[in-house]
Amino acid sequence: MKNLIKIVAVTGLIATTSLQSCKPKDTGNAVSGDAGIKTYVAPGKYDEIYNFVSGGFSGQMSVYGLPSGRLLRVIPVFSVDPEKGWGYSEETKPMLNTSHGMVPWDDLHHVQLSKTNGEYDGKWVFGNANNTPRIARIDLTTFRTQEIIEIPNSGGNHSSPFITENTEYVVAGTRFSVPMDDANGDVAIDTYKENFKGTLSFISVGKEDGKMDIAFQIKCPGVNFDLSRAGKGVSNGWFFFSCYNTEQANTLLEVNASQRDKDFIMAVNWKKAEEYLKAGKGKKQAVRYAHNTYNEKTHSATSEIKTEVIVLDSKELKDICYFIPCPKSPHGCDVSPTGEYIVASGKLAAVIPVFSYDKIIKAIAAKSFDGEFDGIPVIKYESALYGEVKKPGLGPLHTEFDADGNAYTSMFVSSEVVKWNIKELKVIDRQPTFYSIGHLCVVGGDTKKPTGKYLIAYNKITKDRYLPTGPELSQSAQLFDISGEKMKLLLDFPTIGEPHYAQAVLADVIKNKSLKMFKIEENMHPYVAKGEKETKVVREGKKVHVYMTAIRSHLTPDNIEGIKMGDEVYFHVTNLEQDWDVPHGFAIKGADNAELLIMPGETQTLKWIPTKVGISPMYCTDFCSALHQEMTGYVRVSPAGSNVPIKFGTGVTTPEVAATK
């Protein structure tokens, strides 16, 4: 009997410990029981939403499926990516060219899906380069970067790449004011107030092809332009920028740029600016900036250096720009779905001011101004204000919207998301984030018709949320269900780089447009080999061009002789496959760059400068078939001045003698 009790007790103990070991430690109180079911996407099933997430200091853009949080793709944009040959292949190198030369890295902060009538149209997604100011356009049939344009007269492209409701313009406002590019920039830094200017660039976007072009720039007082949003609906035709450092400090901004009680939101009438431009009020200015485009027919990029922009001066041309006072160092500057409300979030403020577009227009008409700042009229705070959200939390940063008249604001300092009603300015719910949320995103949350359903928090600090991986942890996103009155945490998922802004769109808008492969018949690459009969090795002095093909599972030619020290060898590899998801890779021993990853029907080029006499193996790097391990070849490198003739072939005992130009 005694024994029996003991056994029962022991069993009970085991049961208790095993139960405990199954229970997550941290989130027990924050997550409801059905969270797993709500984020479960069965094997082989698709997610319902694409989430385009900025990669921050990785320079790239990532694509996640929601609600599973599965990483679907990392799109190389501003940073080289040896895995995909981005910035290493001869075809993609020009994409990273700038007026400073080749720049292999940047910091991508914000993403914007193209819009028609204020809703996502699924054509393109834009990203900004914060460090060396640029904007990229990614095509959503290929999920590849198709165009990058550099922004002159800019010190750091942060309030970007926000777009107008029909993608007429994508905008780039400089975070760091600097002397204009045509001025003598060799000035004392403490002459900021005198010599430093801020510019806002309006880049037009081709309706059909998406081609970007700097339509005009607006020269503004030297302050820091932080974030921006286009007006929509009633406020279409206007753009709103948050400005900090209106102290115009040039050192220790942490203290010196936080002195004033209020900084500004700048309202910009871009329709008016267009009129001035048409009336010839702009001034041509000499600049240098790179404009890079990728052609999917030649499978190659070209980089062009452009030398002129048209600048409109906000001081001389009245009624383009107006300042609106805004409590302490505003960061986010977000426009409600109707376009009537502009929500500004002062990082250091205790309230969230909500401005009314209607009141702003009336205040301008009535000249309800509080003087000027550096030549720009300042609208009276009360004349523009709809109301304030009192005690929302600490450190408000960004706001997105749902379809039911609610706003969601991220609170960095108090580490929470706060849901509040726009009309009533009342807080409805608050949920903690783990930890220190930066940006947030509601599905369709910046459109005229938000989808709602989910909110994603992008956090700055991960700490103990995942298994430790040394001092550096991946950053973290958190998915919330916002279909009810209370927000419910569903899922944590890790992200690449540092996620800043992100956008989410229903998969149906994009998924059926996705390209499966490039048609080999349409390949216009100058070094394409359309079939093995067109493969060859051609010497042009020290340059050797190898026209190579790849198909499961051999390279042609796979034996090459006659390469000499001092040669520059270009492997132009054409993938002859015509089926979905059959890329071939290409690598050769000792290459000082990267691999190629060649999509079906595409041609890509790896430049190789041999460094040693001898035999260099090459092979396909992407497992392609049961005979992938056989997809290999050899290149013979002879000393400079050797008389070994060029020979090449595949599957022949006596290679053909090459054509020599």
Partner: protein, 162 residues
């Protein structure tokens, strides 16, 4: 009966391991796997002479006379999309040589296979027999109807049709 016991023990192992507590018995599940089953088509409903796809003998309506121009088109298309793996002789390269293919297979089988390879590799007995020899799945080269028909004409020419 035996499989049921094994299944039960795997389930138990799974339950234990999911809590990170108990011992796992991974090896059992590995040894009890059934041999891979091919999904050969049901001979009652599948016509191995025609294969699977949109082409039939009637829809093709092959004549006994060669269309020279079409065969030339077929040769050009083949050079881009086919001859990396197929020789015109009977010799196997990656895939089987084309010599005699129009005698071994019907026109409709060839047309269906080159335009619809994946479903046929999954069920056609002849296609599966070739896969066991070649070990590389015949890729879908996204041929248009016209190009596929031209390739067939080129094969017929290669087999001596005039």
């Amino acid at each position: 009966m035996k499989t049921r016991t094994v299944l039960a023990s795997i389930m138990i192992a799974a339950i234990f391991s999911s809590c990170g507590g108990g011992e796992t018995k991974k090896t059992e599940s590995q040894t009890t796997q059934e041999p891979a089953q091919s999904m050969v088509a049901d001979p009652a409903t599948y016509d191995p002479k025609r294969g699977e796809g949109k082409y039939t003998a009637e829809s093709l309506a092959l004549t006994t006379k060669l269309d020279e121009a079409q065969a030339t088109t077929g040769e050009n298309v083949s050079n881009v999309k086919c001859t990396s793996c197929h020789k015109m002789s009977a010799e196997k390269l990656v895939g089987p040589g084309w010599k005699g293919v129009t005698e071994r297979r019907t026109g409709e089988w060839i047309m269906n296979f080159i335009t619809n390879p994946d479903p046929m590799l999954d069920k056609d007995p002849e296609a599966q027999a070739m896969l066991e020899i070649c070990l590389v799945r015949m890729p879908n080269q996204s041929l248009s109807d016209e190009d596929a028909r031209a390739i067939l004409e080129y094969m017929r020419k290669n087999d001596g049709l005039k």
